[in-house]
């Protein structure tokens, strides 16, 4: 600002001719300024631009101007004696009121009545009805220029000021009764004077006191007060009651004519301005001057205030200023769901999730004046979880602060008395520390007792400080912000914010930070890594981070968002500015200028849709598009811009749009469907072009057929080598009688005769003859040359001629199947990497953003996504290809005269995928790998799946499995044999190849049965080998269905139990008879193996026998009991033995002793007894056994890492994927 107004909060400043009149629009951010040169300007003070100009007043200043409260009207009065009423929507004057006989000083609409009040140098005040467009009263009495006249805001009063040194108050109630009474039409006469000459508007009081002419007088908005300003440089305050009015006080200070004076609409202030180039603010109650705003060169002429907002406008010699007396920003900071604010100078905390009712925790101790609160900032110490620490910073007294330290749990009883200090700025830096920017520019670190603990000199000239994270501080130095580490005493990083940062907002988790200057927003990481910045033309007010890492901010007019990837947009517009304090789960909490906390539902659909798209979370994308009712070109455009036209197809229904979209990303089929719906020539043509570009000749053909583009069709057949269809084209051309087409087709086919015929038919005999001769078509030559009696054809044939014969197709499509896959369409890429598999593209700080998510949806996608994203663009990049390049048609003529074998069948033989390769593409089970001869891979797979550490037993099994597929067929004599693998039944026909599996579940079952028989017949050694080999063969088996898979996994368990069983048997047999205890122990263990019932019975029997013989009667009794009580198959088979067991039980119970101490708890439930397969002894009940990853045999922990003794394949305790017997 040109002037040196101290601390003027300027919102808008304009430069123009002298401003004599001003009027705020009651609702919009507009102000009218009437100028000394006769122009009326309409400004938008929010964006600072001139909206309109009205220039119909002729000659001289327009001194008065006023908006109507509700109608799109304003009134102006000028030195041309005219009162003009304008419609600003129509942008013109709608009528003019004539009557005044001299300059008009002020004009004013009544808030309720259809009245206009005007004051004029003709010493009268007039009241006009703008509906009837007539003057309804002339108020006479002043005997000099009437400088101003105003309606009382509530009562039927008018106040006027005149150079006759008086202020008069007029009573207009009579006029009101007469003219605006319900049902009575407006007066018809030009004035309200009745026949007796009495007026409806009468002077009520004449206020005398000023020594010079009075320039301005105005009512108090609510109290019976009047303020006036005069050329005697005084401002006078007057009171009135029903009967009288008197002077109350005089405000001295101006040293030149007071131009204008008014009461502040909300605060107890008087505002006056003067030709002494000052605006003065006075306290109504104290009647003292509070503040003076000065301008260097310009005299002030007019002052006005907005009805509702706190804006004030003044007009001076060179323009106008719109400003505020005080900052209206509420002090607030959220922490979690708590909002800390200052309301009515009380510090409050409010739980936003519970309601909008605050709990007071202390009062602001600093005194304020009537004009400014002096409150600058409120900060909550987020680093201190155990206490409530709040710093309130005030601007008064050169900057000071209150520090509130209280318990974390604030109740209504809490009242914290603050500690105080002086500072240029303050902020918390750690759990129990805050920084104070001192007036000398140094930074003091204080503890919560408000004691200086450390002092440092910042590395830059610091004019403000902001919190910078734990033990860090942000130093603002003009447009720069430096992050300074207080412990390391060094600068972390710095950023520049155009205009200088005003507010800093940290995300809840402290991972990122937003800087807001007057017109810019800059987002950065916690170490000040720059992410994005935005420029706003209109002031940035506030912002908050939501739980997804999206920054929501407000400007004066809009609520906007900014995504982690830098996309930004508008959420909604604002009628009144608001200050966002929190955004959480689509709820916006904000405060307005009246410091009221509001809760609004925020329509986040758009940004959540974009966020979902950014995260490749396509289900959510769909959800937001459908539920959020997002549609239209903006969304389609966005999807296209982001490379996802495919997604748009999901919800676009308009066929034309679908067609365009599909074409745009090269999805031929989709485009085709849409084109069929549309069936428009232009669509077909475009589709054809795209199909041609992609090399999809079938579609191209179809399109050409649809559009009857015969020439293009012929050419297509030519370039695709489709001579059959080309022949058809020739026929069609004949039928159509299209000679040129016939000729072309013949040319392309190399049908010389046809060409000769056509030329002959068309009368081009010489040409025909020439062609015939050139091609040595004797038959035609003779006939034609007969007709050419005169001319000599031969002389026309150049010597070095080359015949025009089309090239022989090198490759041609079989039955039209072969397209040329020259281009990959987007669709294919999508197929390759499905939506869900793709992860978001890299973005600075995206990790940090993702960390912050509270409900963290699927954001843990695999890495490597960047590549795929790049792939997505390929569809466009590959455009064109070079498929035309090889067809150098210029060479056509140069080809040697090869005989045209149109129907020649060429076989292009290349080595196809072997059966092995084919089945491995479908399935890679160990059995498949072995059958394909990929033994090493099979072993590695088994290592991963089963923890295989001993391959030796597998060698014969692999060999068998491999040879089970080997076959050889003598092809023809002398020809090498055909080596086809044997395939599983039916798989050759289904084309879903699979090798012949040797170890089918059936084979496994058969082998197990065989082994079971061995057990029954007591051949434990053989049975052990047999079961083990079955166990070892199962990994090379393949289950065709879930049932087989279950059978096989059960078989693993069975084999394990039997291997254990037979190993116990073998071990016990090996022991010498003197080791009775061990023998008994092993025999006892036999009974806990999960065998078939009969085998279990036999095990019990043998254990019982052994124990009985070994005189361990108690143990023997337990086995006998199990034999008696259990169910072990057909009774006839076990009857005798059960009988015997009964006897043994009886005897043993009588004896009741165990001779040998064995490690077997017969009292425990059978299933609780676990045998270590390594040591063949019971595992203690408290011990946690480890298992073989394949067969599941249990071991004590000391066996970890060793080879499993049961299957002899797996590593005990290894962490593996587990066996796979069936394709997933």
């Amino acid at each position: 600002m040109a002037g040196s107004n101290s601390n003027m909060l300027v919102k808008c400043e304009t430069k123009s001719n002298r401003v004599k009149g001003l009027s705020f629009h009651p609702k919009l951010s507009w102000i009218l300024a009437s100028l000394h040169n006769g122009t009326i300007q309409l400004w938008d003070y929010r964006i600072g631009s001139l909206i309109d100009k009205f220039e119909e007043h002729e000659g001289g200043p327009v001194r008065g101007v006023c908006f109507h409260l509700s109608q799109p009207l304003f009134v102006s009065g000028g030195d041309d004696y005219k009162i003009k009423v304008w419609n600003y929507k129509l942008r013109r004057c709608i009528f003019t009121l004539l009557g005044h006989l001299d300059y008009i000083r002020t004009v004013e609409f009544h808030d309720e009545y259809p009245w206009i009040l005007s004051a004029s140098d003709d010493q009268t005040i007039r009241i006009w009805n703008w509906q009837s467009r007539s003057c309804i009263a002339v108020l006479t009495g002043h005997n000099h220029y009437v400088m101003c006249a105003h309606f009382h805001p509530k009562e039927d009063l008018v106040v006027s000021a005149s150079l006759d040194q008086t202020v008069r108050v007029w009573d207009t109630s009579g006029l009101r009764d007469k003219t605006v009474a319900i049902g009575t039409p407006g007066p018809t006469s030009g004035t309200s004077n009745d026949v007796f000459g009495t007026s409806d508007a009468v002077v009520k009081y004449v206020l005398e006191g000023h020594d010079r002419g009075v320039n301005w007088a105005s009512f108090h908005p609510t109290l019976p007060l009047i303020v006036s300003g005069a050329d005697d440089r005084l401002v006078k305050l007057w009171r009135m009651n029903d009967t009288k009015a008197w002077e109350v006080d005089t405000l001295r200070g101006h040293f030149n004519n007071v131009s204008c004076v008014m009461f502040h609409p909300k605060k107890e202030l008087i505002l006056s301005n003067s030709e002494d180039r000052t605006i003065r603010v006075w306290d109504v109650t104290k009647r003292t001057g509070i503040h003076t705003f000065r301008r260097e060169n310009d005299r002030f002429w007019i002052i006005t205030a907005h009805r509702t907002s706190n804006l004030i406008a003044v007009g001076h010699d060179a323009g106008m200023v719109v400003f505020k007396l005080d900052c209206e920003r509420p002090l607030a900071q959220t922490h979690g769901h708590n909002l800390f604010t200052v309301q009515e100078r009380e510090v409050q905390v409010m739980d936003l999730d519970k309601g909008l009712k605050g709990v007071q925790l202390g009062s602001c101790k600093r005194a304020s004046n009537a004009m400014t609160s002096g409150l600058k900032s409120l900060q909550f110490n987020a680093y201190n979880p155990s206490e409530t620490n709040i710093l309130i910073f005030y601007t008064q007294d050169g900057g000071c602060y209150d520090l509130y330290v209280g318990p974390s749990n604030i109740t209504s009883d809490t009242s914290i008395s603050p500690k105080q200090g002086n500072a240029q700025a303050v902020c918390f830096t750690a759990r129990n520390r805050f920084a104070v920017l001192q007036s000398g520019g140094s930074v003091g670190i204080y503890n919560l007792q408000n004691e200086l603990s450390k002092k440092l000199d910042p590395p830059v000239t610091t004019d403000y400080i902001f919190p910078g994270g734990n033990n860090r501080i942000l130093l603002k130095s003009e447009e720069k912000v430096v992050m300074y580490d207080l412990t390391a005493r060094k600068t972390v990083d710095e950023v520049s914010i155009a205009g200088g940062v005003r507010y800093v907002v940290w995300s809840q988790n402290g991972a990122y930070v937003a800087f807001m200057s007057k017109h810019n927003v800059l987002l950065a990481g916690k170490n000040l890594e720059y992410y994005h910045s935005f420029h706003e033309n209109i002031r940035v007010k506030s912002g908050a981070w939501d739980e997804n890492g999206v920054f929501i901010y407000s400007t004066l007019s809009h609520v906007k968002y900014c995504l982690p990837n830098g996309d930004s947009g508008i959420i909604h517009s604002l009628a009144n500015p608001l200050y966002i304090v929190r955004v959480h789960k689509q709820i916006l909490h904000c405060m307005d200028r009246e410091h009221k906390v509001q809760k609004q539902r925020l329509n986040c659909s758009e940004y959540l849709f974009k966020l979902a798209l950014h995260k490749r979370n396509f289900n959510d994308v769909k959800l937001w598009i459908t539920n959020g009712r997002l549609c239209g070109n903006a969304v389609i455009g966005y999807l296209k811009q982001k490379g996802f036209p495919e997604v748009a197809l999901h919800f676009v229904e308009d066929q034309q749009t679908r067609f365009n979209l599909a074409l745009e990303y090269g999805h031929i089929e989709e485009a085709m469907t849409a084109a069929q719906e549309l069936d428009e020539r232009s669509c077909w043509n475009r589709l054809g072009l795209e199909a041609l570009r992609q090399g999809n000749q079938q579609i191209v053909e179809m399109v050409y057929q649809k559009t009857k583009n015969f020439d293009a069709l012929s050419f297509l057949y030519l370039i695709t080598g489709n001579s059959n269809k080309l022949k058809k084209m020739l026929k069609i051309a004949e039928m159509r009688g299209d000679v040129m087409s016939r000729f072309h087709n013949a040319l392309m086919l190399g049908h010389v005769e046809e060409r000769v015929k056509i030329m002959a038919e068309m009368g081009q005999v010489p040409l025909a003859a020439l062609t015939a001769r050139a091609h040595q078509l004797k038959e035609y030559m003779e006939k034609l040359e007969e007709q050419l009696s005169s001319s000599d054809i031969l002389s026309q044939i150049p010597k070095r001629t080359v015949l025009l014969v089309p090239p022989v197709p090198l490759a041609r499509p079989g039955s039209g199947e072969a397209n040329w896959p020259l281009l990959m369409s987007t669709k294919k890429i999508f197929e390759k990497s499905s939506f869900e598999a793709a992860a978001p593209p890299p973005m600075p700080g995206s990790e940090a953003f993702l960390d912050a998510q509270e409900d963290a949806p699927e954001d843990t996608e695999a890495p490597g996504w960047g590549d795929e994203d790049n792939d997505l663009d390929l569809g466009g990049d590959m455009g064109g290809g070079d498929w035309g390049g090889d067809l150098d048609l210029g060479d056509l003529g140069a080809l040697p005269e090869e005989p045209v074998h149109v129907e020649e069948r060429g076989v292009n033989l290349t080595l196809g995928d072997s059966c092995q390769a084919k089945w491995l593409k479908k399935r890679r089970l160990p059995a498949d790998l072995v059958a394909a001869g990929d033994f090493e891979e099979a072993l590695n797979l088994l290592k991963r799946r089963l923890g295989l550490i001993n391959a030796e037993p597998l060698a014969p099994i692999f060999k068998e499995a491999y040879w089970a597929t080997c076959s050889s067929l003598t092809a023809l004599p002398q020809m090498p044999s055909l080596h086809w693998p044997l395939l599983s039944e039916g798989s050759a026909k289904s084309r879903d190849l699979a090798p012949k599996i040797l170890f089918t579940p059936q084979v496994i079952l058969d082998r197990a049965r065989e082994a079971l028989r061995m057990v029954t017949s007591g051949k434990f050694n053989d049975a052990l080998n047999a079961f083990r080999s079955v166990l070892q063969a199962i990994p090379i088996s393949v289950a065709n269905d879930a049932n087989e898979e279950r059978q096989l996994t059960e078989m693993i368990d069975t084999c394990r139990e039997y291997v254990n069983f037979t190993r116990l048997q073998v071990a016990s047999k090996k022991l010498t008879p003197d080791k009775v205890a061990k023998i008994l122990e092993l025999n006892s263990y036999l009974t806990v193996c999960k065998l078939q019932p009969y085998h279990q019975f036999l095990a019990l029997k043998s254990a019982m026998g052994a124990c009985y013989k070994g005189e361990n009667f108690v143990t023997a009794a337990s086995f006998a009991k199990r034999m008696v009580q259990g169910n072990f198959g057909p009774p006839d088979k076990t009857k005798e033995d059960v009988q015997k067991a009964r006897q043994v039980l009886q005897i043993c119970e009588q004896k009741g002793t165990d001779k040998h101490k064995i490690n077997f708890d017969f009292k425990a439930a059978v299933e609780d007894i676990k045998i270590c397969s390594g040591s063949l002894s019971a595992i203690g009940a408290t011990e946690t056994p480890i298992a073989c990853p394949y067969c599941g045999s249990l071991y004590v922990t000391s066996f970890k890492g060793k080879l499993c003794d049961v299957c002899q394949l797996g590593e005990i305790g290894a962490n593996t994927l587990g066996i796979q017997l069936r394709p997933i």
Partner: protein, 296 residues
């Protein structure tokens, strides 16, 4: 011309080489072309039986097919790589120079052995006769182009569907497309029509036919029957690698480990370069490497 040579061709293709040989010697060709084919077939019979001495004598024969067969003998039997490659070159040149069908056929086979499938297929194009078409079908089968083989078979049909060559091709295609029943029946027909021993009605065919029949049986899961077929084949040629391979496979399925070992050893001995043998031998390496990887 076709009729007089049909019997020779049929017997040659089904693998009754001795019969074909004697027929070649007895039939008198009516034209130069027939003569030349007869000579070539005779030479190819010598290749298959084999009668190397007779082939050696043919090195400078007037009949190009015989010279080609002699070169083929060098290519298949010689241990000198240089000899083999020069013989291949000469065979190629011979085929080009003479445009003789038998030369082209043999050359195509040699090209196929070397994996030059496309060149082999090109060789077959010059002579649009059924035998050549059959060769192309087998070439297609060799390089796993089953669909193409099926198509080629369709194209070849109608010329002489009763000929042994066509029926062999048809059987092979059936095997490749997973229709072993049809293949089995075709082989049975051929066996009874062209018995290995004149007048034998046991249905026992040549080694070639028996192997095919066995494979059809193997594909049908009838391994015991396949073993019988193979035993007959092996009785006439105990060293036939194809029969031995198939025998090993059958024994695996029948769970006869000893027999498997027996046939496998035989196979290792007679066909040390057979891919199955090489793969089996490679298995040891794979296991060793795996165990070594565990040590790391």
């Amino acid at each position: 011309m076709d009729e007089e040579l049909q019997e020779v061709r049929d017997n040659f293709y089904v693998g009754n080489f001795n019969k074909a040989l004697s027929l070649c010697e007895s039939v008198k060709g009516s034209s130069e072309l027939t003569q030349s084919e007869l000579g070539a077939t005779l030479a190819r019979c010598c290749l298959s039986i084999p009668q190397i001495d007779r082939l050696k004598a043919m090195q400078n024969s007037e009949i190009p097919g015989q010279r080609a067969a002699a070169l083929m003998a060098v290519i298949t039997k010689s241990k000198s790589a240089q000899q083999v490659s020069s013989a291949k070159e000469r065979l190629g040149a011979l085929a080009k120079e003479t445009q003789d069908m038998s030369c082209a056929m043999l050359n195509a086979m040699v090209l196929a052995m070397d994996g030059s499938w496309n060149e082999a297929a090109q060789m077959t194009k010059a002579h649009p006769v059924l035998e050549m078409q059959v060769l192309t079908i087998f070439l297609a089968l060799s390089c796993n182009q089953v669909a193409m083989a099926e198509k080629l078979l369709k194209e070849a049909s109608g010329n002489n569907d009763d000929s042994a060559a066509y029926r062999l091709a048809a059987a092979a295609v059936k095997l490749a497309t997973g229709d072993p029943e049809e293949a089995y029946l075709t082989y049975c027909d051929l066996c009874s029509q062209f018995p290995a021993v004149e007048g034998d009605d046991s249905g026992s065919g040549s080694v070639l036919l028996q192997t095919g029949k066995a494979l059809a049986n193997m594909q049908r899961g009838m391994f015991s029957e396949a073993v019988e077929d193979l035993q007959r084949a092996l009785s006439s040629n105990p060293n036939d690698p194809d029969s031995l391979v198939n025998m090993c496979c059958c024994m695996t399925h029948l769970g006869k480990k000893d027999e498997f070992q027996q046939y496998y050893s035989k196979l290792e001995q007679v066909a040390p370069t057979n891919p199955f043998v090489l793969k089996t031998q490679g298995m040891t390496t794979a296991f060793t490497r795996f165990q070594a990887s565990l040590q790391v």
